[in-house]
């Protein structure tokens, strides 16, 4: 163990059935440093955190912590805490109905009675000490999110913590609140606490971090000093350039569109996204790109009316209209395949057939159900066309593989014959064969005149399908790339921002 290290993890491996979540990952946290843990979706950072906090047992590897002789095994969050490893999660894990003081101390006393006075006194001292603008007696729910987050940190710090894990702590804070949080992080750093900072905001990483560790596909890419790793290099390391196995598909000239403008939005905004402009022509395939959390999914959700639309003008085929809920969008011939298939896509217990006809049935109206024969015909047509591997159309969708589930959702939208189809991460977590099929299908549909917006974490894949890429960073559109600009190098540079 290194002299100044407070935590070392060596050769950590974690396997799930069929998935290699972590392979031989090393991680070292030094005293009084802020260490960013970076990686795209599925890179393994949350698995690593969960191993460290005892949520998952690791399959192989060694964890050592300052002050304890030998390797330790962490079997529960409680044990992690006993070793001085505290976590503040993305969603605030406090009780909004209790007071600030109570939140800081609940579950930490063995006594049978609550000593309110002592508790409030101690809480008051701690809050003052850390400069957190909250009163002990205040109800937590009445504090701003940033302050709630800081109360959670104060609670963690007070439990004699050596390692503080901040898992996406800034995702719901505004700029000023983020600054407040950073102030607290620097304060703790000065006191010698080692902080693991997980975030997807690049700028924030550079604002506070000393060290950066990058993971990709469950493997360690490397550990770097923040000052030695320019932003563009970081993005490169996170995304990775090699995409083995996919190079077999020949790069096709993506259809350039140029037809009639099918959909147009001006200053469109929703409860989750900032205002943006956007348009798409008939037969065009374009895409939103950016890192996870850059706002790409939120933007297409605003187009589809999936979040609460808060402003902007929308035109469909040149005619001004309002799309405030998914049904509006569907009636205008827009389809949307959501990012999270399990949560927002499939209806697990319904049959493949019912899942396929769902959207069309909704457009048709509840009072005009399809006959069984008709539904059967619809389902069979698409099961055949998309080569969905299922025992029958009666099979519940949850028993299908991920790729086939995705095809069913795709079929659901194709059945409505949309003019404009939004595909958010249609290929995530599915096998390579199906991936290629979906890419080919996208190009074919576009050739037939459908407009498609395609989102993927894999830039390679987007370059292959899209003729125009809208690049987002930290919830804003920062660039639009077409023609010659569509190269991996260029895209990454735009995502990272600046020329550094």
């Amino acid at each position: 163990m290194q002299e100044d290290a407070v935590l070392t993890m060596r050769g950590i491996c974690k396997y799930f059935p069929g998935v290699r979540a972590l392979e031989n990952v090393d991680f070292t946290l030094r005293k009084g440093t802020i260490h960013a843990l970076m990686g795209e979706n599925g890179a393994g950072k949350s698995t690593l955190i969960k191993v460290l906090t005892g949520v998952y047992p690791m399959d192989k590897g060694e964890i050592r912590i300052d002050g304890v002789e030998g390797a330790i095994s962490i079997r529960s969050p409680q044990e992690a805490q006993n070793y001085g490893i505290s976590t503040v999660y993305q969603e605030i894990t406090l009780c909004p109905n209790l007071t600030v003081a109570e939140n800081m101390f609940i579950g930490r006393s063995e006594k049978r009675n609550v000593d309110w006075k002592a508790m409030e006194k101690r809480a008051g001292e701690l809050l003052d000490n850390l400069g957190i603008p909250a009163r002990p007696k205040q109800q937590l729910g009445s504090c701003s999110l940033a302050v709630q987050q800081m109360v959670a940190i104060a609670r963690a710090v007070d439990t004699d913590c050596k390692v503080l894990i901040l898992d996406e702590p800034t995702s719901s804070l505004d700029d000023k609140e983020v600054e407040m949080l950073f102030g607290l992080m620097r304060e703790l750093k000065a006191r010698g606490v080692g902080i693991i900072f997980v975030t997807h905001f690049l700028e924030q990483v550079y604002a506070v971090s000393d060290q950066i560790t990058v993971l990709r596909n469950g493997e360690l890419v490397g550990e770097y000093a923040a000052k030695d790793l320019p932003q563009v290099k970081l993005v490169e390391k996170m995304i990775g350039k090699d995409l083995e196995g996919l190079s077999t598909i020949k790069k096709q000239t993506a259809p350039s569109g140029g037809g009639e403008i099918v959909y147009e939005a001006e200053e469109l905004s929703s409860s989750e996204s900032r205002p943006f402009d956007f348009h798409i022509a008939a037969g065009e395939v374009n895409g939103f790109t950016g890192l996870l959390g850059s706002g790409r999914s939120e933007s297409v959700r605003a187009i589809f009316g999936a979040d609460q639309v808060t402003g902007g003008k929308v035109k469909v085929k040149g005619k001004a209209t309002r799309i405030t809920k998914p049904l509006d969008a569907m009636k205008h011939g827009i389809g949307y395949l959501p990012e999270d298939r399990k949560r927002d896509g499939i209806i697990a217990d319904l049959s493949v057939r019912d899942n396929i006809i769902l959207a069309l049935q909704v457009i048709n109206g509840m009072n005009r159900p399809f006959s069984k024969a008709k539904a059967e015909a619809f389902a069979d047509e698409y099961i055949k066309a998309l080569q969905i591997k299922t025992y029958s159309s009666e099979t519940p969708i949850r028993s299908l593989s991920g790729g086939n589930q995705q095809k069913v959702i795709l079929a659901r939208w194709l059945l409505t014959h949309p003019q404009y189809l939004i595909l958010d991460e249609p290929t995530r977590g599915i096998d390579i064969g199906t991936k290629l099929e979906i890419q080919k299908l996208v190009l074919k549909l576009a050739e037939e005149g459908m407009s498609i917006t395609f989102i993927s974490s894999e830039i390679e894949e987007m370059l292959r399908t899209c003729s125009r890429l809208i690049v987002m960073r930290d919830r804003n559109i920062v660039g639009e790339l077409t023609g010659e600009e569509l190269s991996q190098e260029h895209v990454m540079r735009t995502i990272a921002g600046g020329g550094e």
């Binding site: 909004p96 609940i106 049978r112 309110w116 006075k117 006194k121 008051g124």
Partner: protein, 390 residues
């Protein structure tokens, strides 16, 4: 703070008290003052003793996340049945009481086990209990009424004509003990409020403004004195009130001052957070529902004493009265919010509406309609004000 937000805050904080005052004033007016006659005030307590007890237990369940217990009515009946049958065979009264409480506790533990450790939804577990214990009561009673003839038992738990705490001072036309108790209660209240205030001040902790403390104290003292004087003009302190006060004091303490009590709130606020804080949430659920059984047992005792019999139909809809009181009294349908005093005010509100309409001669079915609408209004208020805050 502007005057407007001040008023708004005040209204929000004391909604139920304001509602209770308004409703009481309304019925006092409509019944030309009959509502506040000593006998009617006594009746509000005596008739609703079981509601106060059950609602207190129900609050603990609701705090864990809006979970309710549908079985309490049937458990009241079953426990009452057991007690009546035991006393019919001349079992010692104290032993019978003990057995009734233990039976309630065991029934509570039975349901609590499934809810806490097997994760059967409380709604279903207690729906099952509702049927099972109603059925069992019928089986034991064989459809018959069993009367309770033990005079001492009946009197002690608030039944019959003499179920009042005897006046030690033998006052003429006024129960002196009752007045004395009122005075002592007010004195104790003032003493503890002031002491807590000065201790907090000494430790530099936040205290509410002096003006507010004084106003609160004046109102509480006035209400308590009015109430005890009225009771004193009738027959004094009803035994049922004694039991209610004991339950209220114990559970106010549990919910505000003990660790396990605060865990109830924590679970209702954020169950994951509570678990991550190292608290065994299963134990807390187990506690809440076992306790509900125990209090249902006590309510069973109060019920058969008041009715001086046990019948297979006793306790019907008691669960609804208890649940309704909780929500009217400001408990949140999502859990985590609600206090014992609040619930008592909710139960009182229901009681006042009941008795007020009875005096006015309103048909019992309309009474149900009104109570139902009041309940809905209370929950709408909770939901809407939550939405505004978030």
């Amino acid at each position: 703070m502007t005057t407007k937000t001040k008023i708004l805050n005040f209204v929000q904080k004391y909604t139920m008290i304001i509602a209770l005052v308004l409703v009481t004033a309304f019925f006092t007016w409509r019944t030309s003052g009959k509502l506040l006659l000593p006998q009617n005030l006594t009746n509000i307590i005596a008739q609703n003793a079981y509601v106060f007890v059950l609602a207190t237990g129900m609050l603990l369940c609701i705090l864990t996340g809006g979970n309710i217990d549908l079985s309490v009515g049937s458990v009241v009946c079953f426990v009452g049945t057991i007690g009546a049958v035991l006393m019919r065979s001349d079992l010692n009264m104290w032993l019978a009481v003990l057995i009734m409480l233990v039976v309630g506790l065991l029934i509570g533990a039975w349901q609590a086990f499934w809810i806490a450790y097997v994760k059967v939804p409380p709604f279903i577990t207690t729906l099952s209990g509702m049927m099972v214990f109603r059925g069992l009561s019928n089986v034991v009673l064989q459809g018959q009424t069993v009367s309770v003839t033990n005079e001492k038992f009946v009197q002690l738990f608030g039944g019959g004509a003499n179920c009042y705490v005897p006046d030690l001072f033998h006052g003429e036309g006024i129960n002196i003990l009752c007045v004395a108790v009122g005075v002592i209660a007010c004195a104790l209240y003032l003493f503890f409020t002031l002491r807590s205030r000065s201790v907090r001040k000494r430790n530099d902790l936040e205290v509410e403004s002096l003006g507010r403390t004084v106003i609160k104290a004046v109102v509480i003292v006035a209400v308590v004195m009015f109430f005890t004087l009225r009771l004193a003009q009738y027959k004094g302190i009803p035994m049922a009130l004694l039991w209610v006060v004991v339950v209220v004091l114990i559970y106010t303490y549990i919910t505000s001052k003990t660790t396990v009590g605060r865990y109830l709130y924590a679970i209702g606020g954020n169950e994951t957070a509570t678990k991550l804080s190292g608290i065994d949430t299963r134990k807390i659920y187990f506690f809440a529902y076992t306790n509900m059984g125990l209090l249902a047992g006590l309510a069973g005792i109060l019920t058969i004493a008041r009715m001086t019999s046990a019948q297979p139909t006793y306790g019907q809809n008691y669960e609804m009265d208890a649940i309704g009181s909780c929500f009217i009294g400001g408990a949140s349908a999502y859990g985590g919010v609600g206090t014992v005093p609040g619930v008592i005010i909710g139960a009182l509100l229901m009681g006042v509406i009941n008795i007020g309409m009875s005096i006015m001669g309103v048909d019992a079915n309309y009474q149900k309609v009104v109570k139902g609408l009041v309940l809905l209004a209370a929950v709408i208020f909770d939901v809407v004000s939550k939405k505004k805050n978030s």
